[in-house]
Amino acid sequence: MRRIVARSWPIWVIGLGFYLPVAITFFNDARMGSWAEAFSSTWAAIPLFFSTALLALASAFLATFIGAVDALLYSAFRQPRGAWLWLLPCLLLTFTTPPAAIASAIQSAFGSTMLIGGFRDEFGTVLLLTLRWAPVAFLVLAGLTITIPHSQELALRQLPPKTALRLRWQLQAPWRRACFFLLFLLMLPAAEIPSYTGVETISRRIMARLTIGDGLSGWLLALGLALLLVPIIVYWFPSQRLLGRSFQVRDPHGLPRSNWLLPWWLLRLIPVVALISVLWVTALPQASETEAASREFLGALWDGLSELPRGIIVVVLPTLACWSLVSQQRTRALLLWCMPTFLPVSLIALALASSVRPWLPAALDSFPLLLSIAQMIQLGALAVIVGILSLRMIPKHELQSAQLLPPGWSRWKVLFPRSLPVLLPAAILGMLLILGEVQSTLILAPPGHPSPALELHQLLHFRNDEQAARLALALVVISLLWTLLFSWLIRGKGDSDGK
């Protein structure tokens, strides 16, 4: 029994929170719905699969390119003084700030027409998706530089800067491809940003189906999306051969300096500075409204901060589960965790609300239990990647020694502390994602549960720009605080003193 529990617990949440409710809900919808209509509307949506894929491909390509350049420059040169304090948080800000806050800034500055990017709807979508996901590419690719073998890294530092840069770019190539496919997968189910720009995607089509109670069409469209995703996930899934290859060199000793690096970073941070400036200017109250405005800002700040403890738990459980699965090299179980991240969250939330909630005691209705489960499931792919990375950074000989220990607590005691440098920053990022989450919050949050991101959505519609900007600013402040903590945790030796 103990062995069964120890082996199965990492898939409890995903099994009971996703696969079982989804199966029940699909069965119910299939029983009630019209198959002919559902098939016909799914068939009609086939071109939409291609246009959504094209949108995701373009955005993933651009985001990967920007992230790759950032990661290359960040790892190949000695950074300006205190870079972890100002550069890292700012580079990550367009990802850690909820999209609604970015939309709020654009809307208040230019009107909602500019949400389309000012050129074409699809162009605006690609622009916003790229802005949002480029920091993820930067993080993944910069994170993967820790896998460059120690000796190779030291050799690179002996080369002339340009040659070293070229070699690093070549070394980065396989990771760039993997990162590109990861971003493509993450962007395929995008619904929020396309909804601001008025672009039709598969996820939006699924939502439109659900709003008229046509669950079966929604499920068939989701199935189509899954058919597109599964081969890519299986093909690109990092296998166990990638584990435990090398050890990082965090000391910047030997890295070249560059005069143009600082101007480049300043140029790169213009969108972030613009975002904060617009929010700041819009949020500034009239003299008569100062008190109410301060109250709104502080209230939003408090609501956001009060969500963080729950966010910690929401992030910790899937991260631990996936880390455990990676350490046991259970690839199929990891794939189970990956899948739901790439499907529209509304489907998961509705499945939980309709099939799991009736079985729970009514006393639990006041608690965000199901919301927490839905959000854990959303973080599945992130947790898998983090699990893999955290074990890859452990030196090969240490990992092999640990594998000699019996699986379970004794092996955990050796491996887990060595994984924390990756697990902790990832947990912070996950929490920031939870802070901006809207879709499952609307369906599953108990009445009265605070959610600044959801409130921001509601204010955006009615052009309460000032109030929305104050809320957005509060979210940006929280994001910045937590990203600072993140940067501090991942800063390399010597980054702080700028040697």
Binding site: V5, A44, T113, R204, R310, S354
Partner: protein, 337 residues
């Protein structure tokens, strides 16, 4: 195992959160704009001492909305009262058994045409489907279209915008047109609209903003979306489609069947359907049209009698056309682009 227990022990308190106090509570799912509804609900809380726990909808096209949440919670509802901002989805919820009958003596000042014959829902404070008109454009003046059919005229080619026609009040508008005109005429109109290069944008507010910038001359939207920017000093024209019959979409109140606090739900329903709330909504920047004969229309507000001929509606039949109308607009206006 020990670690697992430790994780569970640490987890539960955070998942569980905190409970509210002992004050009586009513839960409302509200699709009306938060800025206005929140003030009204605060007032109710002050006057009755019943704490209101509100879940507000987002603009429909960013998420699946509260109507779907009500469906998912049907087996064990946690909402007492549903305040919808358009009628057709409420009619469908009523047909699915989500609502229970309202008290018979409720909202006696509101005409029966705004109520469900079986008493499952009651309309109040409506808004009008309107055309937002770009100032200094040919759409303002004698050429202003009086029917949405005129939007297919070649002189408006590429100059008309419409919000995502599957969602919100635009979806309702489409279903009503399909019901009123019949399938063939409706499809012909959609085809003509598509040929005339109508711009489909994200939302009613985005439609209005494109009119303000002059990118299009005419936008199909709601009166509240126009009024809110007018009060900020923005110049924008407004036209009602009297040629089709003016379409007024009331807010709707429905009591949720099997809700946890049915009595408080009824108290809130009575309060919301009172003339006073309609007056507050009529005076707000959402400029709702009071439907209660006892409600006074504020200066600058819209009175039911001044709107011109309303399109007489059979809400049940129009609600039945909603899924079909949405599929039609999806096929003609979205899939062909």
């Amino acid at each position: 195992m020990r670690f697992l227990l430790l994780v569970l022990l640490l987890t539960l308190p955070f998942l569980i959160g905190c409970q509210g106090g002992d004050a009586p509570v009513v839960t409302i799912y509200c699709a009306h704009d938060r800025a206005h509804a929140e003030k009204i609900l605060d007032l109710f809380q002050e006057e009755t001492g019943i704490r209101v726990e509100a879940v507000f909808d987002t603009e429909a096209n960013k998420t699946v909305g509260l109507a779907e949440r009500l469906r998912a919670e049907k087996q064990r509802p946690r909402c007492d009262l549903h305040w919808s901002n358009e009628p057709l989805r409420s009619v469908r919820l009523a047909k699915e058994g989500i609502y229970r009958p309202l008290p018979e003596d409720i909202a006696s000042g509101i005409d029966d045409r705004w109520k469900d014959p079986a008493g499952l829902w009651c309309g109040f404070a409506g808004r009008i489907r309107a055309l937002a008109l770009a100032p200094k454009s040919p759409a303002v003046g004698t050429d202003t279209p009086e029917s949405v059919k005129q939007l297919t005229d070649v002189r408006w080619r590429g100059k008309v915008a419409i919000a995502d026609p599957r969602l919100g009040t635009t979806g309702t508008h489409m279903a009503i047109l399909k019901w009123a005109w019949g399938e063939e005429e409706f499809l012909n109109w959609l085809e003509a609209l598509e040929k005339n290069e109508v711009r489909v944008v994200a939302s009613n507010s985005a439609t209005r903003d494109r009119v303000i910038t002059g990118e299009v001359w005419i936008g199909m939207t709601d009166t509240d979306d126009i009024e809110v920017v007018r009060r900020r000093g923005v110049e924008i024209g407004e036209g009602f489609t009297a040629g089709d019959g003016v379409i007024l979409l009331p807010n709707v109140v429905g009591l949720v069947s099997g809700s946890p606090q049915p009595e408080h739900g009824e108290t809130l329903a009575r309060w919301l359907l009172s003339p006073r709330v309609e007056e507050i909504l009529a005076a707000s920047s959402s400029r709702q049209v009071p439907l209660n004969a006892d409600a006074k229309v504020p200066a600058g507000g819209l009175a039911l009698n001044d709107l011109g001929p309303l399109l007489p509606l059979n809400w049940d039949a129009a609600a039945d056309t909603l899924p079909g109308a949405i599929r039609d607009v999806e096929r003609v206006l979205l899939d062909r682009r």
